[in-house]
């Protein structure tokens, strides 16, 4: 066990799985960097350095730099998974799904069903998402609801370094296509991470706080906000349950209902656009299954229904924050 950042935890999972299984290959734009240049090889290791260092262990045959060609990357990774490799493809920013979604939506996600259960597609797509870096409308979105909508793919949203390593290991070993979503604001977050390899099963949400007055449900970066608000409320004498969903597909419905029923007061914090997002989905789930246990209307803290703005004060206003979550909690406490 040692202190590692979210970035280092992801890198270590890749390194260990590539060492363990020679069928694991990394595919994407600048995943090593410097291809074809006379300068430094492994110049970037991914645009934010997450895959740095893999090249020296595995060479360009397994750390495959591609042109900027997302459709071909996603198609190639899908076809490789279908025929015997275990690829980890990188979609640099999730926003770029717009140029390659067919290969995910209509090909990979549907192989198994369309082909009558005969296809096995052990594909992991790593992608960066989320706001806070002043990256504006095309590099800041939280598009996971667009993936959870599609049967046949799994969606993973780790909130901390420990989960990032364990869930990525599980994603690579999993025989279904997985979208592994890395919040770009979390890369420098540190936490205790075992040095040895381990995996965390999908569909098991994590209770990070247990309490009796109010329940917060978060995913990815919003888990940290929920934890902080819970700690603030504790100083005021109110105890909170906080549930980190960890995976959005499969969704741990039992834990969501359990967390909700524990307190009867629920705040869901979701950084994705507010229409048809995870918060609305969970809210419907709770209302359908344990309406009688609710003591107040469910609160959803999400951005407004606008693109992500660039200007720092506007983006700060846009994103869910501790202040917004605390204020939502106080309305029902």
């Amino acid at each position: 066990m040692s202190l590692k950042t979210y970035r280092e935890a992801i890198n270590e999972a890749l390194l260990q799985e590539m060492k363990k299984d020679e069928n694991v290959v990394v595919i994407g734009e600048d995943v090593a960097g410097g291809a074809g240049t006379n300068g430094e090889q492994d110049a970037w290791g991914g645009v934010l350095g997450v895959t740095k260092g893999l090249l020296k262990h595995f060479g360009r045959e397994r750390v495959i730099d591609t042109p900027i060609t997302e459709t071909a990357i996603m198609g190639m990774a899908s076809g490789a998974a279908l025929t015997g490799l275990r690829p980890v493809a990188e979609l640099m920013f999730v926003d770029f799904m717009g140029v390659c979604f067919d290969q995910i939506l209509n090909q990979t996600a549907k192989f198994r069903y369309m082909f009558g259960g005969k296809a096995v597609t052990p594909l992991t797509i790593r992608t960066m998402y989320g706001g806070g870096l002043r990256a504006a409308s095309q590099h800041s979105q939280c598009l996971y609801p667009m993936f959870t909508h599609v049967p046949g793919i799994k969606v993973v949203v780790p909130s901390n370094p420990y989960d990032a390593k364990g869930l990525l290991t599980q994603s690579i070993r999993d025989n279904d296509p997985v979208i592994f979503m890395e919040h770009k604001n979390l890369y420098d977050l540190s936490g205790d991470v075992p040095d040895e390899s381990y995996s965390i099963p999908f569909g098991e949400a994590n209770f990070t706080r247990e309490g009796k007055d109010i329940t917060f449900i978060g995913m990815g970066q919003t888990v940290d906000i929920c934890n902080k608000v819970a700690d603030t409320l504790k100083k005021e004498g109110k105890t909170s349950t906080v549930l980190d969903l960890r995976t959005l597909s499969p969704l741990d419905e039992d834990s969501i209902l359990e967390a909700s029923e524990e307190t009867g007061k629920v705040v869901i914090v979701d950084e994705s656009y507010p229409r048809c997002n995870i918060a609305t989905d969970i809210s419907a789930l709770i209302c359908q299954n344990s309406f009688d246990s609710l003591k107040a209307g469910i609160k959803m803290v999400t951005p407004p229904h606008t693109p992500v703005p660039f200007s720092p004060p506007l983006e700060d206003l846009y994103l869910p924050s501790e202040e917004k979550v605390l204020s939502a909690a106080k309305e029902i406490l």
Binding site: V25, R62, G75, A80, L85, Q107, K110, F111, G117, N175
Partner: protein, 321 residues
């Protein structure tokens, strides 16, 4: 071209099976006996057989919405395919795919495809597997003149060259993207697009089995030997319309007659092999009858077969969820 008698018989048998299969589907569909919609390959048989006779069982192909011919040429069972078209439980995909999603991974058939231009990116992946595992297999991606205008095709050709993949791109150019003519929709030339991306690119007469076979043999051997990807631009024509029910009013009567009478790959094959004394006419006619018989049985068995049950609705989405 140096093909043995056995190989010639295999070629004609395959073309007859494709012809009979899709002709039968044409009549069944018109009689309202078949669900969904279907796109028929009649008139393009020489392409599928000319390419696939150069492939072994471990080589792979990805097909198109007009995929029955490719499936048969790659060895898929015609009765299982026909059951799939009827949506039956014992269909090749359990009735969950239908005409546009026929796949048999055990035969190297990676799927027909309902998305125009959807297959070639997948072929890149199969080719990457062969390159990484150092097998000498190849993967072939079929697409049409319509798909040639999709970005997925350009991206795939470029990636294949950049990574020097054993991938073959086969553009079956039947002159029409739905009801729109190639002359209207394709800027520049499909062949030149292949060349521009650095592919070994050839134009081939798709009505002539032997031309397709020879061209495919060359580029497939090269790809097996690590010499990289290629494009075959196969000029062909289809007898029926885009889908069944298409009145084909965008083609003239003369053109339809010409396609049927002068551009029929089976007639052209038959003429060549009988004139050169390679095979007897009676032999070829026997193969035609045999194919007719097999397809008749396939249809009878498919009609009798069971539909999937309610529990089948929820299976095969994930391996483990």
């Amino acid at each position: 071209m140096q093909l043995s008698r056995e190989e010639l018989i295999k070629a004609y048998t395959g073309m007859c099976m494709i012809r009979e299969f899709d002709d039968a589907v044409h009549y069944e569909f018109a009689a309202d006996a078949m669900p969904g919609f279907v796109h028929l390959y009649v008139g393009e048989e020489a392409s599928a057989m000319g390419i696939c006779m150069n492939l072994n069982e471990k080589d792979t192909i990805a097909s198109t919405h007009r995929g029955h011919g490719h499936c048969i040429a790659k060895g898929c069972d015609v009765t299982d395919m026909m059951k799939e078209l009827y949506g039956k439980k014992d269909g090749i995909c359990g009735g969950k795919g239908g005409s546009m999603h026929i796949a048999d991974l055990s035969k190297g058939m990676l799927g027909a495809n309902g998305i125009v231009g959807g297959g070639p990116p997948i072929v890149l992946g199969a080719a990457l597997t062969y390159k990484t595992k150092k097998t000498n297999n190849v993967s072939v991606g079929f697409f049409g003149d319509g798909a040639s205008n999709q970005g997925s095709i350009s991206e795939s050709m470029n990636m294949a060259t950049v990574l020097k993949l054993p991938a073959i791109f086969v553009c079956e150019d039947n002159g029409y993207a739905e009801s729109t003519a190639r002359e209207y929709a394709v800027g520049g030339s499909i062949l030149d697009r292949g060349k521009a991306f650095g592919l070994d690119s050839h134009e081939v007469d798709g009505d002539n089995f032997f031309e397709v076979y020879d061209a495919a043999k060359q580029v497939i051997e090269n790809a097996r030997n690590g010499k990289g990807p290629a494009l075959l631009h196969i000029k062909t024509s289809k007898v029926y319309g885009h889908f069944e029910g298409d009145a084909i009013s965008y083609r003239t009567k003369e053109e339809n007659e010409r396609i049927k009478n002068d551009e029929d790959p089976l007639k052209i094959f038959k003429k060549k092999v009988t004139e050169s004394g390679l095979l007897e006419l009676s032999q070829l006619e026997a193969l035609e009858e045999e194919a007719k018989g097999k397809i008749k049985i396939a249809i009878e068995e498919s009609k009798k077969a069971e539909f999937p049950s309610a529990k089948d609705l929820l299976t095969d989405v994930y391996i483990k969820y």
